[in-house]
């Protein structure tokens, strides 16, 4: 599993915004963009942070300043070094020349890496207004962007809006329910004191991905409902799962609603 994650992370860059088929630009009659695109193919020979690869992206930009892809790739690299200013400059340039291609990634990363939930919601709404087809998923494919919008509302403390958006997605797209959608929905219900509804969601979550988080949040709701026996079962399950590493874990960031041993200990001792 660990190695699978490492392989996935190494592929992350190329997954986030696939390199275009250069022939498209040729068919459109744009030979400048076509040439820049052909040059940009050499970037994939290098590790993303390698200055030689970055120099290729710079040459592409010099050759065709309105070609979005090299800006996007540079933004992605700066994001990973936490370089707020360079990230913003390059992702906005990418957006300027390819808003539809850039908005899913910008919406994902604004929330994930800068806690800019308003910015992410605004990007998702804009994308929704620009396309007539399914707006798609966050950059790693974990969440549908509508659910991501709900998670952003949740992080802003707007739980009713979050519930509304996530419930709507689950009902309208039962074929596109994500691995953790019910977990976050359950936590939203819990935050507004609807513990029975929270437990329903957390039980459904087991079908999609059974994690320590599931049992941890269930334990909280059982305690609120004065169900000591169920609380004990849940907290023990959460500990069992935590001990064997069956939890949410992210290589790039701490995930939404992720828990740690510290959180479990705190709940046990309160």
């Amino acid at each position: 599993m660990k190695y699978l994650l490492i392989i996935f992370i190494s592929l992350y860059s190329s997954l986030s915004f696939a390199q275009p088929n250069c022939n498209v630009f040729l068919w459109e009659g744009d030979t400048i963009k076509y040439n820049a695109c052909k040059l940009s193919e050499k970037f994939t020979d290098y590790y993303q942070f390698d200055m030689k690869g970055q120099a290729i992206l710079d040459s592409c930009i010099q050759m065709c300043p309105y070609y979005a892809w090299p800006y996007f790739e540079k933004a992605s690299t700066y994001l990973k070094s936490g370089n707020i200013l360079e990230w913003d400059y390059h992702i906005n340039k990418s957006y300027e020349y390819d808003p539809v291609g850039t908005l899913p990634y910008r919406a994902s990363c604004r929330a994930k890496f800068f806690a800019d939930y308003e910015g992410a919601i605004s990007d998702i709404n804009e994308l929704d207004s620009l396309v007539s087809y399914d707006i798609g998923h966050t950059n790693l494919g974990t969440y549908h962007l509508h659910v991501w919008k709900g998670i952003c509302y949740k992080n802003l403390g707007k739980f009713a809006e979050a519930i509304n958006v996530i419930e709507h997605h689950i009902q309208s797209r039962p074929d596109a329910i994500g691995f953790y959608d019910y977990l976050h929905l359950g936590v939203c219900y819990q935050k507004i004191g609807r513990h029975k509804k929270a437990l329903e969601c957390l039980e459904k979550q087991i079908e999609y991905s059974d994690l320590a988080e599931n049992w941890y949040y269930s334990a909280i709701s059982f305690r609120e409902l004065d169900k000591q026996k169920e609380f004990n079962i849940s907290i023990n399950k959460a500990q069992e799962y935590m001990s064997r590493g069956q939890t949410l874990r992210g290589g790039f960031r701490t995930l939404d609603d992720e828990i740690f041993q510290y959180d479990l200990d705190k709940l046990k001792n309160n």
């Binding site: 936490g82 800068f114 800019d116 510290y262």
Partner: protein
């Protein structure tokens, strides 16, 4: 004999030129956003085990590899950061540094922006506190390659500040 001495001298001169070139090359960053040693701000005795191969934080393992995990790291800031003595400013502050193969840290660098990602300079009472607390963090875990060798890695912390208070620590 003279010719042999000349050849030796020529060899030494060429060797010194090559050495100079190598030293210059080593100052050219190989990776994007590499932080070079700066004698004015960095510790002289800080050891980077392999300067040519510093990993990114996400290359091996968890995003925050810290003793007690992210909650312990957050606690360090909650306990030591005093928001009552700072200006009520808002924005993002990123501090990036190296965790070496022994789990020690140095080469701290800071970037600051407003909430629209535009460069700004925060009240020094905010940045100095964040920098001091970050420098004092001593629970960073070592990260290992598959062959068991511990590596150096780049780590960063981004602080979202609202009205002088820390509201989120990322990633």
């Amino acid at each position: 004999m003279i010719s042999k001495i000349n050849k030796t001298l020529l060899f030494c001169v060429l060797l010194s030129l090559v050495s100079c070139k190598t030293q210059q090359d080593s100052k050219t960053p190989r990776w994007l956003d590499d932080i070079q040693y700066d004698s004015k701000v960095d510790k002289k005795n800080f050891v980077v085990c392999d300067d040519d191969d510093i990993y990114q934080y996400f290359n091996l393992g968890d995003a925050i590899h810290y003793n007690g995990d992210k909650p312990m790291l957050i606690n360090s800031f909650l306990q030591n950061y005093d928001s009552t003595k700072v200006k009520k400013e808002s924005g993002l502050i990123r501090i990036r540094f190296i965790v070496n193969c022994h789990g020690e840290t140095d080469r701290f660098r800071i970037i600051q922006s407003d909430l629209n990602y535009k460069e700004k300079e925060f009240d020094k009472n905010i940045t100095n506190q964040l920098m001091a607390i970050t420098k004092a963090l001593d629970g960073w875990g070592q990260k290992y390659k598959e062959d068991g060798t511990s590596v150096d890695y780049w780590q960063y912390l981004t602080f979202k500040i609202i009205d002088g208070k820390i509201v989120k620590i990322l990633p």
